[in-house]
């Protein structure tokens, strides 16, 4: 479970986040949606203690992220940011191996190697594990990064727009893998998504953010309504019944 209590962060008098109060229950996928610059990523980065907040408190699985040692948090929550440009030439397996760093500090045990293998297989990267990251396509590289945070074996997984730059097929595959991680492995996944249709189809809960504040939290069917989405995104949105569920149409 993740609890945010009056979390606030201000950049300038015009750009500010919060105060935000939010409780994300354990298990399942929670999608953060909202317009550009609403503060979705900032909020996620603060939960993942990569960015300090100005006010308020965040607890992950009962631990205050401001006071818990970073080393211990690394076994409870993992975060993958949107931009990952690694200059280092590492193979997929070497990269995923560093997901075990919180446990082994670099010297992988046999148990670590087994978890690394399983994470790689979980994302269907078995064939590619010996390849260097710069030899992979964008979709494969993204899967390797997710395999790394999965190998970290944390209850909470925070992902910032993992579908960025992925085509239809790879986006669907990625969401499929994440859905399985939530259902089969019981992980709590918080994910920033751009496309509300993806959120509606794969997430258990949707949390809408606008101008640094939470404007709606609810089940997908509660958020997937024309008037609600129009208000969130400031653009006319219609919700229609498609062959595989509700669809937001906005162009």
């Amino acid at each position: 479970m993740i609890t945010l209590t009056s979390v606030a962060k201000s950049y300038s008098s015009e750009v500010a986040i919060g105060p935000v109060d939010l409780t994300i229950p354990a298990g399942g996928i929670t999608a953060l949606v909202g317009p550009n610059g609403a503060g979705k990523s900032t909020l996620l980065t603060m939960i993942g203690r990569l960015l300090a907040m100005d006010e308020g408190a965040i607890e992950v699985a009962g631990l205050d992220i401001a006071t818990t040692p970073s080393k211990d948090l690394a076994k409870i929550v993992s975060i993958l940011r949107q931009e990952n440009h690694f200059v280092a030439r590492l193979t997929v397996r070497q990269l995923v191996g560093f997901g075990r760093f919180p446990y082994s500090r670099g010297r992988l045990t046999l148990g670590d190697e087994e978890i690394v293998s399983r994470s790689i297989d979980f994302l269907g990267m078995g064939e590619l594990e010996g390849r260097y990251l710069d030899e992979l396509s964008g979709g494969q590289r993204q899967r390797a990064y997710v395999a790394m945070v999965l190998a970290q074996d944390t209850d909470c997984l925070l992902l910032d727009e993992p579908l960025n730059n992925l085509d239809m097929q790879h986006s669907v595959q990625m969401m499929h893998h994440l859905r399985r991680a939530a259902t089969e492995l019981g992980r709590t996944i918080v994910i920033v998504l751009h496309d509300v249709n993806f959120a509606s189809h794969y997430a258990d809960r949707i949390c809408a953010i606008k101008d640094g504040r939470i404007v709606h939290v609810g089940l997908p069917e509660e958020i997937m309504r024309g008037d609600v989405l129009t208000e969130i995104f400031d653009t006319p949105v219609d919700v229609v019944d498609g062959p595989r569920g509700r669809l937001a149409v906005y162009y």
């Binding site: 990569l50 993958l80 940011r81 690694f86 280092a88 560093f98 978890i115 293998s117 297989d121 209850d155």
Partner: protein
């Protein structure tokens, strides 16, 4: 409590097949590495017997051998390994392939420290000079890193340019101080990397770099993780700032010590890690033996060329390294451009 990957039977997480036994071999002494060690031994032997003085024929050959050849060769090995490793660590910490002590201003700062000590305490022992050089090298490298963190640079090629500019400014300050204290000539001699003056009884403080080499081996994984960026490092629970501080300390120590004993060895830390990375990727720990060996080869070969090319005189190793390094640097730039 939720289930985790650890508790799950393999069948759940990989439905296709049981988890393959594919733990990569972690043996340190592989055949290629043994071959590399043998090649190093060969080069070391060659370095011991190349020179103007007839070691085997002359009456005091054995004595000369002990006074100059052995210290010189040991210095080549130590300086080569230490500077190559410093370059590698520096490239990880800055996430930039073009950074090494001589493209980040570190060497110039070490030179400034050495000069100041020589002015304030002309009779200071080598150890004091080294301490001064290490301290200024540390400060200078922190200035460079601090600048990099504050300014977002659009292109990776700008980073070494900023470093070299910083180095040029510090070098100019050194030159000015040296001019006004009539030290220019001795500074030039000190600074130009050369193993000619490495003699028994003078070079021994260079052994201190062994500590640096060992420390890099121990902290190798931390440096690789730091090389993935502050966010990834923090995510896996690594104290990024502490690792940067440790790395800077090690780089400054190696650069300061080598600068005082041998002089400036330009581009060594650039050539070696890049070639190793090309063949073996960037897993620091498994690369380190190769970085050491290649560093030793490059310096030794350059030094032997310098000894032979204008016999009976010598060309400083720094001159040959600079030519070689410039060529590799340009090749890297072209490669970076082609890859976008």
């Amino acid at each position: 409590m939720t289930e985790s990957l650890t508790d799950l039977p393999p069948a759940v997480t990989s439905p296709a097949a049981p988890v393959r036994a594919r733990v990569p071999k972690s043996r340190l002494f592989t055949w290629p590495l043994l071959a590399g060690l043998a090649a190093t031994a060969g080069l070391v032997a060659l370095s011991l017997f190349v020179g103007v003085y007839d070691i085997l024929g002359a009456e005091d050959g054995a004595e000369m051998f002990a006074i100059t050849r052995i210290p010189r060769t040991i210095a080549l090995v130590l300086a080569g390994a230490a500077m190559a490793m410093s370059g590698m660590v520096m490239q990880q910490l800055t996430q930039n392939r073009f950074v090494e002590p001589s493209t980040a201003g570190t060497t110039e700062w070490a030179g400034l420290g050495l000069l100041l000590i020589m002015i304030v305490m002309p009779e200071a022992p080598l150890l004091v000079k080294m301490t001064g050089a290490v301290l200024t090298a540390f400060v200078g490298t922190m200035v460079f890193f601090g600048f990099l963190r504050r300014v977002t640079l659009r292109s990776s090629i700008i980073v070494p340019i900023v470093g070299m500019m910083l180095g040029a400014v510090v070098g100019a300050v050194s030159t000015f101080i040296a001019l006004s204290t009539d030290m220019l000539q001795s500074m030039g001699v000190w600074f130009l990397g050369s193993f000619t003056s490495v003699l028994q009884g003078q070079y021994e403080p260079l052994w201190a770099v062994v500590i640096v080499v060992v420390a890099v081996f121990v902290a190798a994984d931390r440096f690789t993780v730091a090389g993935l960026g502050q966010d990834v490092a923090t995510n896996v629970g690594l104290n990024y700032n502490r690792v940067v501080l440790l790395g800077t300390g090690l780089i400054a120590a190696a650069t300061g010590i080598v600068t005082v004993v041998v002089g400036n060895l330009p581009f060594l830390g650039l050539i070696v890690p890049n070639i190793v990375s090309l063949f073996r990727g960037d897993d620091l720990r498994s690369n380190l033996p190769w970085v050491c060996l290649l560093g030793i080869w490059v310096v030794t070969v350059c030094d032997i060329i310098g000894r032979v090319i204008v016999m009976p005189f010598e060309v400083p190793v720094a001159t040959i390294l600079a030519v070689l390094g410039a060529v590799v640097f340009i090749l890297l730039l072209l490669r970076a451009r082609r890859r976008g």
